[in-house]
Symmetry: D3
Subunit: 254 residues, 6 copies
């Protein structure tokens, strides 16, 4: 059975990553996953938040926002409302936590790496696209620290990417939900994984519905399949930095 | 190998639920899970939020808070800070979503059921204790609607409870983490399940760490074991209402 | 003439104080006055607010809040509204000021004693119950400083308690108003007194009404009567610390 | 013994009230009490707040603010801080409540009378000067409703004024504290009274001190003496409206 | 004398406008002016703000924001700060007011046209680029109302564009300041003009400096020259809609 | 043709400035321009904001507010709304920037001069009256630094004043718009000038209208005429300080 956009059950949408999209940030990527487009900028600040000071370690944190008209209906800006929504907070905490799982905080000094994910156009999967793109922007930003000889090794232990899986009302499991699928799905699960197939985050939610152990297993298989495709694309845009990451992966395993 | 508090790997902490703890709410439960204590109050309001009006359906929503000195260090009140933290928002969205998964929103009219979970004493697992206690408070509150003949059937499709599982630094999987275990665990996973063993929410997070598919399976087994114990205790305090829930469960399956 | 709950005009509601109610705070009391229940926690922080620094003195401050469903109708949380109401501010300023009147700020170093009064169930007199309970929690917290040899003497000069008096529409003066009486009273007066019968605070308010000098005198007599009962109960739960307070009282008088 | 500004113990500072100070409000008074100057404006709005609608009654409410440099040190504006302080809230609640005690809310329709008290120069007693001046502005504003034939009778039952009394460190009781006296006083008591000598509000506070029943009596005598002087001055500026108020007073007593 | 980027005194930076940049909005333009890039989205909402209701007229309003890393140093998000800065408010009020000057509010019913200007990359002149791009997005959005036959005529009376002029420390007047020039200029003037050479806004500011009448005249000549170039480019991307605008211009003049 | 208040096209409203209006500030002026009345207070603080520290320079900043009933309809206080409006921010930024244009920030040490403009009564031109009055308050405040020998020279380079000009619907240009004229004018332009006729700020706005180069010239002539009258009045109230300012003007020109 074909999906609304003719994809197979286990097929990702087209992914494109344009690096250097904005000139000021240390790392900048415009990622598109189907019609979802997110600008991921990585900035390096030479200090850490108060709760981290004096430990000689760095910190990675993320912020997420949508342009008001990234969606079909215009949303009120969170700056006008004067507060950040629960959904935004959940997403930006997720992005930061996911990135930190593959970063060696001990290895880049008392610096903060800020990730800003700004959704320009939304068509489902904005949080997973943000993680996938933010990972690339982060590596590029750490790369500038190596180029300026501020650090010696890339403090990134492995690849990292994210995608979604879900269950449609016809009980079929699918990979990489677009907005239309997401709004009718019974179950929605975001999966964040590392290059060697370990889980970083697993967030499965029944929307006024539930899911069985069997369905969980099928969804995880689809997720694993999708991840491999995404890692290939990240490697293509990361160029020389893949060698650094691969070296770190080997050291961690031995 | 024994845990800090002498429990087995697959052993829950002692659970106690005192119903009718506060006199005003339609449903009120003081739940304790080990040293974690949460007041769960359920209130019924005779209208729904604006985005739900005119559909003839009800709504279930939750709020969560901690007393400033529920924890070892005193926390600043969110009312003083003027905003609710990301952590609080994540938790209250989780509680509301979990409860809605077993409620038939069509069956209690244009009413809102508010759940307030106020943590009096925290020792790990406050969000899962909140869900377990909130479920009981919710059933009791719906019960008052039946007693007042406002509705005919209990709009609750199944039992619902939550617990946590995790992986310790020694790679051992454990059930129901207390605060001390939670702060050193490599992986922390919250599981919300229904009485018939389906998942409602699955939120697994590596804390600057990752977990394998194999570890996931072991954690889910522990969670399933713990759930069965919790459901027994919920049934004990729900008294006459268990018959209503069991009837609904049978109807859904047939 | 009997009151709604059968009490005499000069009769307090039943008071109960459970110490050690929450395990983390240095002092913790669950006080109930009739159906009004307040958790009073005292926390010690090893610094003072900026405006007090460098004077070698301590500070005592209080915060007050109600659980949303402490009352008959659910109230919106102040953290959700993003601001603390005028009523809350008035009450927490009153509690702090009242406690400071019997504390010797010079005698516990540059420390802040935080009092948190969280109303679990409200049935009138939540602010006076808070003061009465907070006093006990405060003494217990200072006691831990003596036990840890951080200070030598209890920095508490006298006992302190609070109650309300009022005038009913039938012009009768009464002691310790419950919610129902409070909402119909013409005059409501909160009285805070020390163990030796001095006033600390006197706040009398006509609710779209006024009161004469003669009524004032009668209300103050009732208050004095009630206070003596409350002090007896505070002494009972304070145990060994009463000897310290009595010694301080004698020294102040000589 | 003479006071810093040479006044007797029972002597008020010079009071001046300039009516019509600002041209737009329905009632406007610039009151000065010694060096304390407050602009009191009364505005009439043709609707009541939501909680009052449909009852056919009016409402009286007050707001209070200080110019940043009304005081010796410049204060940050509350609009810049984004919130109103506890002190401001306490004062504006007090002013509104005091005025309502002499107003017949049933007699001016579903209207709100807003009182704005803006302190231009502060030298102690800003809240009592505000009440004294606000009362005059209020009567003038109600007067315009009579002149426009919107209402028939002045809905004001009696005169109303406020002053402060206190106890100096030398244990002397004094009337009408200026800033310097206020900052060193052991006890500070604000008294709001009606023309016939009844209390509306009584707020006595020991500042890290206490006061006896005997001191209370002496302070209340001073307050009564001061009130009589203030009522004379209010009558002088109210002109024709005093006849309306006196008529209402007679009707209430008979 | 040449400028930092080799331009002549009276030369604009390269301008590019990509229409249809985001798919959801009724009008969407990515404008770049040199290295300044702004996404301008126009959204149509079928109602007007409360103060406009019932007049049968429409409203045009704008919001402006910068991505945190649009600039050389990362800025804190206004949503995190919980309030919109004075600079942002000034700019969004300017954009809305400027657009309304060429719109016939009577001619598109009770609708609101929202303009969102989000700066992706900033290099000086973000507010003038926003106006120039927003004008195009607005015309495209009104075009969809004509295409859907919701209105008959384009409610736009003339062309509209904006640019900056200034005075360098060497007293030379220049057109279209980039960031580097803007930060050292003595005078900065933003000019908004219509297609027939009338002023809509003129905002000249000495930065701890002043300017003479003679300098004002020279700056206005430069501005007029730049405008003509910009109008040509707007016409090129507006395609068929230029005929509508030209017709409206002729009617207004006759 | 005469204007509503019988003035000529090029005639200012009556101006009055009362110095020393409030006793606490270092400089205090009550300025009235026709029926517009503003209290302008200047305060000196012995430090600068964080972004200025360590440069040995001072800072001048302004805040602006209106009493709620300065206008015909009562406005909600910005402190109650919890945020400052865009209009207020625009005005206070303008006042601060204008004053800084004639101040030598290098010459009064690391101090902040705060200007508070509080509008007591509004009848058009509140921002220009604020600038004119604030200038005088500022000079007086700097004067106290000379009197206390904290600085040697007055750090003020020239006179400074502001007024408005505009275009009426009958296409007539006028000077100094009152509220009624302002609300019907097609064009409104605020002009800030120095004593030697240089522009500091020029803010011309078409209100859903535009203006030609010719109209701009006529408005600027009117503004220049008005300025000369205002400078004469400033000199009259500045007394001895005019000699200081004149000396600084001569030095700057030579």
């Amino acid at each position: 059975m074909k999906r609304t956009d003719e994809r197979n059950q286990n097929e990702l949408r087209a992914i494109h990553m344009e690096t250097g999209y904005v000139k000021h940030p240390e790392g900048s990527v415009l990622i598109s996953v189907g019609d979802t487009k997110v600008i991921c900028n990585a900035s390096i600040e030479d200090r850490v938040p108060p709760f981290m000071r004096g430990q000689g370690k760095g910190w990675v944190t993320a912020e997420y926002s949508m342009l008001p008209r990234a969606t079909q209906q215009r949303n009120i800006r969170e700056s006008s409302k004067g507060k950040v929504s629960g959904r935004t907070m959940e997403i930006q905490r997720l992005i930061g936590r996911a990135l930190r799982a593959v970063v060696d905080l001990e290895k880049f000094g008392e610096r903060t790496l800020w990730i800003d994910c700004d959704v320009v156009q939304a068509d489902g999967g904005t949080r997973t696209a943000s993680i996938t793109g933010a990972y690339v922007a982060m590596v590029l930003a750490f790369g500038t620290l190596i180029q300026s000889k501020s650090i010696k090794e890339l403090p990134v232990k492995d690849y990292l990417a994210a995608t979604s899986v879900g269950v449609l009302p016809n009980q079929e499991e699918i990979l990489d939900l677009c907005y239309e699928e997401d709004s009718e799905a019974l179950v929605d699960m975001n999966v964040v994984m590392t290059g060697n197939g370990e889980f970083v985050e697993l967030q499965g939610t029944g929307e006024e519905a539930t899911f069985s152990y069997n369905q969980l297993q099928k969804m995880l298989e689809l997720a694993q399949k999708g991840m491999n495709d995404i890692f290939d694309q990240q490697k293509a845009v990361l160029g020389e930095w893949t060698a650094h990451i691969d070296r770190n992966r080997n050291q961690n395993q031995s």
